[in-house]
């Protein structure tokens, strides 16, 4: 029987690396919670929500003191008590779902096009400069101008909304993928080739991981602009979806409901952004 490993490497092989329990396991969850309650992050967390609550309080006070009885500026308490009922009104859950599905499709399409075209443009040295100029011009244009043309082609319905969402989401994704892939140093692909890797290994193990941080940033921005596109289309001319609903409540003067709905959209956008940020942080933890 061996009592002491002959070397550190052997000890390591026997015991394995020290790993923290994953966050979803009970032990890991408890450890994280304990750490969170102790650390700086809790203070940040509390401060953040205290600020939100304080702002709501300020808003409540201002509306009650200076805009009492105003039709267009309901106090926060009223938005929460009367307005929140809107989410169970007939047609509202369906509208939210419609928007969510169309947004999902639009973002998926934008991602697909943006990643593939961006990677292709980035990989071809000559295309990079041209691609960048072109994309920057396209991104600078007010896309709302082409909306009538989109409607001409796709009619008023889900098609136009998705296409409009795609036109908003695709360019940030394409641009950042292009620069991410284009800025990969020669060093790592060369090392892969020296160790016997072909172009698949070069792409998969050197180029994509190098480009990942940039790509993820593009996806986060694209997720936001894509949602903007879908909502814009709904606000402008749609007969169903959350945007159309918002316009309807506005026109009918159901103000607390309008505010609640708007708040709901913001929460949804915030959730998407948070999700993207978390994914981004998790996948690029090696950067520290």
């Amino acid at each position: 029987m061996r009592i002491r490993p002959a070397s550190l490497a052997e000890a390591y092989v026997e015991v394995g690396p020290v790993r923290r329990a994953p966050w979803w396991s009970p032990a890991g969850g408890r450890a994280r919670l304990r750490g969170a309650l102790r650390g700086r992050r809790l203070r940040v967390f509390l401060l953040r929500w205290a600020t939100v609550l304080a702002l709501i309080g300020v808003y409540e006070a201002i509306t009650r003191l200076f805009f009492a009885g105003s039709l267009f500026l309901p106090p926060a308490s009223e938005i929460f008590t009367r307005g929140m009922g809107v989410f169970v009104e007939e047609g509202v859950p369906e509208a939210l779902q419609t928007t969510a599905v169309e947004y999902g499709i639009a973002f998926a399409v934008a991602t697909l096009i943006g990643l593939s075209c961006g990677a292709a443009l980035g990989a071809i040295p000559g295309a990079r400069g041209v691609g960048r100029d072109l994309l920057q011009v396209l991104m600078a244009l007010p896309q709302i101008a082409i909306y009538p043309i989109i409607i001409l082609f796709f009619g008023i319905g889900p098609g136009a909304k998705i296409v409009f969402g795609v036109t908003h989401g695709v360019f940030p994704i394409m641009l950042s993928t292009m620069s991410g892939v284009g800025e990969v140093e020669e060093t790592l692909p060369r090392a892969i080739r020296a160790m016997g890797g072909g172009w698949v290994a070069v792409t998969w193990r050197a180029v994509l991981p190098s480009a990942l941080p940039s790509v993820l940033t593009g996806l986060r921005v694209g997720a936001k602009t894509c949602l903007l596109g879908v909502l814009l289309a709904e606000l402008l001319s749609s007969v169903n979806g959350t945007g159309a609903l918002v316009m309807m409540y506005s026109a009918n003067g159901r103000i607390p409901q309008l505010y609640a709905l708007t708040l709901g959209i913001c929460v949804g956008a915030f959730a998407v952004n948070t999700l993207m940020t978390v994914v981004e942080r998790r996948l690029t933890r090696w950067r520290g």
């Binding site: 002959a6 070397s7 550190l8 490497a9 390591y12 092989v13 690396p17 020290v18 060093t187 790592l188 060369r190 090392a191 892969i192 080739r193 020296a194 160790m195 016997g196 890797g197 290994a201 193990r205 050197a206 991981p209 990942l212 690029t284 090696w286 950067r287 520290g288």
Partner: protein, 321 residues
């Protein structure tokens, strides 16, 4: 059980012990052409070699003198961004015998890295050719050649261990074996404790040693090392260099080494190729007939000092041009 020195005792960390201790344990390297003046009769060399369990008895002197690398009339050009063509290397020919330690030395920017890249199949020469084990080099030969890059080429998203493992991963070595060999290689360069750290969490010297570990792990017969210890202090680089040559000694590996340190060159090499600047040619070949094992005594001996002084003269004149 370590894979890298099957015949010798475990070396342990490359950073443990003094230069002298390290040097004292260096096994005898086969010179191929032992000099009469170094006091070691050629027969002892052969004996030492063949009595080791790693050397097959059937391998005679003809095997040992065989050329593993043959560089013939090699030229390398680069196209500058303004379209002009620059000759970096011009008509370089030399060969490296099995188990030989050859060092390339020359002023910065003279073309050492370019030469090494062509030998590794990573760069197409403008003229001439390289043969490795009598096979024309047309592309990378990962089973024969391991490479340490001047700029380390570490993957920032991989831990130290994963950085070593990738060499095996690309050769489809199964996971368990991969892991074990990677840890062994890390242990060898004194990095076992930091196996789970990312490169950015390592010092410059540690990163360099990590790159060396990655080259060691694949057990190639030939190592092309581009300033592998450049970021280290003089003592550490000598200890590491000696232990490296010892590790490779037992496996009979062939090494082409680039360095800017004259002392390191004298300490480690069997032969030193002094290169000229722009375009790079072989200016002089300097044999290092110092006996092994080498320690500070040999390098500081009159013979060692004479070689170092000669190298200095050659390079000093080259740098003035």
């Amino acid at each position: 059980m370590s894979l890298f020195h099957p015949t010798g005792p475990r070396v342990g960390s490359l950073l443990s012990g003094s230069i002298r201790q390290a040097a004292m344990t260096v096994a005898r390297r086969d010179h191929g052409t032992p000099s009469e003046s170094d006091g070691a009769p050629a027969s002892t060399v052969v004996e030492a070699r063949t009595s080791g369990p790693s050397a097959a008895p059937s391998l005679g002197p003809s095997f040992r003198s065989s050329e593993v690398i043959r560089v013939e009339h090699l030229a390398v050009s680069y196209r500058r961004s303004d379209g002009a063509e620059v000759r970096a290397v011009e008509d370089v020919s030399f060969s490296v015998r099995e188990g030989e330690f050859v060092t390339l030395i020359g002023p910065s920017g003279c073309g050492k890295t370019s030469l090494l890249r062509v030998m590794g199949g990573l760069l197409r020469p403008a003229a001439g050719q390289v043969y490795v084990n009598d096979v024309l080099v047309k592309g990378p030969m990962p089973d024969a050649i391991a490479y340490v890059f001047q700029d380390f080429a570490l993957f920032p998203w991989r831990t130290a261990r994963a950085n070593v493992e990738i060499a095996l991963q690309l050769k489809r070595v199964p996971r368990g074996e991969r892991r074990r060999r990677a840890l062994d290689a890390l242990d060898m360069v004194g990095l076992a404790e930091v196996a789970d750290r990312f490169p950015r969490e390592l010092s410059g010297g540690m990163q360099q040693r990590l790159a060396v570990a990655r080259a060691l792990v694949s057990n190639c017969g030939i190592l092309l090392l581009d300033e592998p210890f450049g970021a280290l202090d003089e003592q550490t680089r000598l200890v590491l260099g000696v232990q490296l040559s010892q590790l490779l000694e037992s496996a009979g590996r062939t090494i082409v080494f680039v360095t800017h340190s004259l002392q390191e060159a004298v300490f480690l090499s069997d032969r030193i190729l002094v290169l000229s600047h722009q375009p790079c040619r072989i200016k002089k070949t300097v044999e290092v007939p110092l006996p092994r094992p080498r320690g500070p005594d040999q390098v500081k001996s009159p013979a060692g000092q004479r070689i170092e002084a000669e190298l200095f003269q050659l390079l000093y004149r080259e740098s003035l041009v």
